[in-house]
Subunit: 83 residues, 2 copies
Amino acid sequence: MSVFQEVLKIIEERCGKGKDNIISLATIGIGEEGKPRPYVREVDGFYEDGAFYVTTSASSTKMRQISQNPEVAFAASNQWFYG
Amino acid sequence: MSVFQEVLKIIEERCGKGKDNIISLATIGIGEEGKPRPYVREVDGFYEDGAFYVTTSASSTKMRQISQNPEVAFAASNQWFYG
């Protein structure tokens, strides 16, 4: 099993199985002078089959940033709650 | 009071006063082809006078990234704990 597959397995065990999770979702925004800046906010993500599903506005800052740079990162806190 | 000053006041109220806090610390790393990628991890930050103090290794990924791009962002979870 590759490292990537192992990570997916851990995410499935911790975040999947019908749970939704508070995750810290990090994105890249372009700051003054075109310099990349990190952004992060906590969102409620429902995990299934390798993807977190998050409810948000299409015109939100995070959506604008992701449309410009689809690279994102997340950290899952220890607050698991069940939907 | 400027927005910046208001934000500092809120951070002081929620994160300051001798507390340490779990924060999601986001940084920029440079991925393949020199493209900026967001990174985020939870750390324990002690807040005082406008700065979070975090214990980490000087050779850690986050320190390397911050030395290359000092722009960071954080989100504070609702888990306040006291040092």
